[in-house]
């Protein structure tokens, strides 16, 4: 948190000097359930904004970030979106829970204000509401399962188990995992849910064992509950492979799931070998003295995408920004080597379907990339 304040102060100091600034709103969660993901991405975002300002800002003006805390409460989120719009932001970055981002859309659609989430992966965000001012550059659940399956194709899976939690994102990802599996003619023989606050995942994993699957696909996004799944897996002596959503790419598993995740494969949008990643990590380390991880990259890319769109529009007119973003093509830190964010055919989900990589845990460390894309 101190880091946050430090970066924020740097940014504020930079903005105060400027006469005229470009106001960009950020809605994040500092105290609620989304905090483990919102905090690092927002730190990456602030770092990126500082970097842009040091290089002269956008169109000669400095970025001024207006950051609000929605506590992961969707109705507070909507109110904050209105507040930011009243304060004159030209863009809103949504760095909180999926339902919060959804609820903000009602507001941004009405107020015709551009809004983007660089980190949410719920597929329905761009389909539930026909909001032309909203984009999503997080890696969608459907892309995650397609990438996982492309990698697993060689393993000849016939029947699998699907395990998730009862969070909204976990349920959403599980839905898309299931349809992806069924489309590949793989039977889902067991679907289990580990609820938030559970003390063990033993009964669920026993059911999974009883169904005798070739592999298990993990769609859950709650860290503590996922660890319970791994523990039960170990205790029951299960041997079939585990393929997980991008949630496993968060580094906390390396400390909290020691000895439990060797050999688990997961999708990630972060390739540590990519030159942009190496440059980003070095710059971040130099500025703050701490190591960033993939969550920081989402925020960093998010602010850069917004900056690029404004630069391309050549003005802070919201309509021009909208058109510029829709026709943007940008290579950032996240994604496989050479991947570009883009929004072809009027779609508003910008993460390239071939842009994810599959990595494997080697011991307790996040290991090498074993597969790229969906081909």
């Amino acid at each position: 948190m101190k880091l946050f304040a430090f970066l924020g102060a740097l940014l504020a100091a930079g903005a105060v000097q400027a006469q005229d600034t470009i106001k960009i709103g950020v809605i994040t969660d500092r105290v609620g359930v989304s905090r483990p993901y919102s905090e690092p991405s927002t730190e990456g975002l602030v770092f990126g904004a500082n970097e842009i300002n040091k290089q002269g800002g956008i169109l000669g003006k400095k970025i001024e970030l207006l950051i609000e805390d929605d506590q992961s409460k969707p109705d507070v989120s909507a109110a904050l979106a209105r507040k930011l719009i009243d304060q004159g932001v030209v863009f809103i970055l949504s760095m909180s829970l999926t339902p919060a981002t959804q609820q903000q859309q009602t507001v941004t659609m009405e107020a015709k204000t551009p809004q983007m989430t660089p980190m949410n992966s719920g597929d329905t965000l761009t389909t539930q509401l026909p909001n032309p001012y909203f984009w999503q550059t997080g890696p969608l659940g459907s892309i995650q399962i397609a990438t996982l399956l492309a990698h697993a194709r060689s393993k000849n899976l016939k029947k699998v188990a699907l395990v998730t939690d009862n969070s909204d994102l976990g349920q959403l990802i599980a839905r898309f995992f299931k349809s992806g599996l069924e489309k590949s003619n793989i039977a889902v023989v067991s679907e289990e849910v580990v609820p938030r606050g559970a003390t063990t995942a033993m009964p669920q994993m026993q059911k999974v064992r009883a169904a005798n699957p070739d592999a298990v696909f993990l769609a859950g996004v709650l860290t503590a509950e996922n660890v319970l799944i791994f523990r039960a897996y170990k205790e029951l002596g299960l041997k079939f492979p585990i393929h997980s959503s991008y949630n496993l790419s968060v580094p906390v598993y390396m400390t909290v799931a020691k000895g439990l995740i060797d050999g688990v494969t997961f999708v990630d949008a972060y390739d540590p070998d990519k030159p942009q990643v190496k440059a980003f990590e070095a710059a971040y380390r130099k500025e703050t003295g701490k190591d960033p991880f993939n969550m920081h990259g989402y925020g960093y890319d998010g602010i850069h995408l917004v900056a690029e769109a404004i630069k391309k529009a050549g003005s802070t007119d919201k309509e021009k920004i909208r058109a510029a973003m829709q026709s943007l093509s940008y290579e950032g830190v996240m994604g496989a080597k050479g991947m570009k964010y883009s929004f072809p055919d009027g779609k508003r989900a910008g993460f390239d379907p071939n842009g994810m990589v599959v990595r494997v845990y080697e011991g307790d460390k996040q290991g090498r990339v074993v597969y790229t894309g969906q081909k």
Binding site: E68, V76, A78, A79, P99, Q102, Q103, V107, Q171
Partner: protein, 310 residues
């Protein structure tokens, strides 16, 4: 006649204010008014009738979800959808009220707490009907009798809701029914001995206040045009209880003060204190209870007493 004029004036002033506020303040104002409505109803149930229930918010949710489902999935015409929604709330309220009159104090609290949680589970698992964990969005308030109500005009609708709820509850409070409720709260055996039908009083109070909460929920559904499970969680049920207690249980003014204060406090604290604001909120809450266990309304009373003495 004069009383009627006061209500009309209140309606005009409170609705008129909406036309002078920006989008953001209008939004906060609307949600504040909805919380005040809920607090008034809950105050009647808990403060005046002494029933500790945590199901109030579940009925708020039942009202909100039912109007959306009846309008946009069953495609009922608007007036019918409203009636159907209220009927649903009444039916559920009776189904909960009648068995729960057997429970006292913390057993009632626990049963209604479980009910509140069960409601969320049903919402999450409701699939296509309730929109599951993502809820339902992408709908608009339909034209009512050809009238297209938007923006500050809708705030006027909410103001009408608050004022009519207050009027109804005030009336009830001052009637023999209100006295019966208080008797049940303070000493059920004595009340029964005096001829009050304790069970019927409790059931009527519960059903009435829950149906009012449901109606409030219906109005809420069109504020953000989204309904989803996190909005109706049990955290909010506790917050409602706090509002009534901190303001002053049993007093309408207390409910209003509590709702206004506790709803707006995070908005004031957040820019001041940054991410510690929930911690400060918790501390203030404890302090409020420690120093004014009868509610902040008692401060006002003391002030009035001092003024009168002077």
């Amino acid at each position: 006649m004069r009383a009627g004029a006061t209500w009309l004036a209140a309606l005009l002033v409170m609705s008129g204010a909406a036309f002078f506020m920006g989008e953001y303040y209008n939004d906060v104002y609307r949600k504040l008014l909805l919380w005040v409505t809920l607090a008034l109803g809950y105050n009647f149930l808990f403060g005046i009738c002494g029933q500790v229930a945590f199901s109030h918010f579940a009925f708020y949710g039942i009202g909100a979800y039912s109007i959306v489902i009846f309008l946009f999935q069953v495609h009922l015409p608007f007036p019918l959808a409203v009636v159907a929604g209220i009927a649903l709330c009444v039916v559920f309220a009776l189904a909960v009220a009648i068995p729960s009159t057997r429970l006292e104090g913390f057993y009632l609290a626990l049963a209604t707490l479980a009910l509140g949680q069960l409601f969320i589970v049903v919402l999450n698992e409701g699939g296509a009907v309730t929109g599951g964990t993502g809820g339902i969005a992408n709908y608009r308030l339909p034209d009512i009798f050809g009238v297209h109500i938007r923006g500050p005009w809708y705030t006027g609708v909410i103001v009408a809701l608050v004022l009519s709820t207050y009027a109804v509850l005030l009336r009830l409070d001052r009637s023999w029914f209100g006295r019966a409720c208080r008797a049940v709260r303070d000493n059920p055996e004595a009340a029964a001995a005096m001829g009050v039908n304790v069970t019927r009083t409790k059931v009527i109070t519960f059903t009435l206040t829950s149906a009012l909460a449901g109606l409030t929920g219906m109005v809420y559904a069109f504020v953000d045009n989204t309904v989803n499970p996190p909005i109706f969680g049990i955290d909010n049920a506790f917050l409602l209880l706090f509002m009534v207690i901190v303001g002053g249980a049993g007093r309408h003014a207390g409910a209003v003060i509590g709702a206004v204060l506790l709803y707006l406090l995070p908005f004031w604290l957040s820019p001041l204190v940054g991410h510690h604001h929930v911690l400060v909120f918790g501390v203030l809450l404890v302090a409020a209870i420690l120093f004014q266990p009868k509610g902040l309304i008692s401060l006002w009373d003391k002030l009035q007493a001092r003024v009168r003495r002077a």
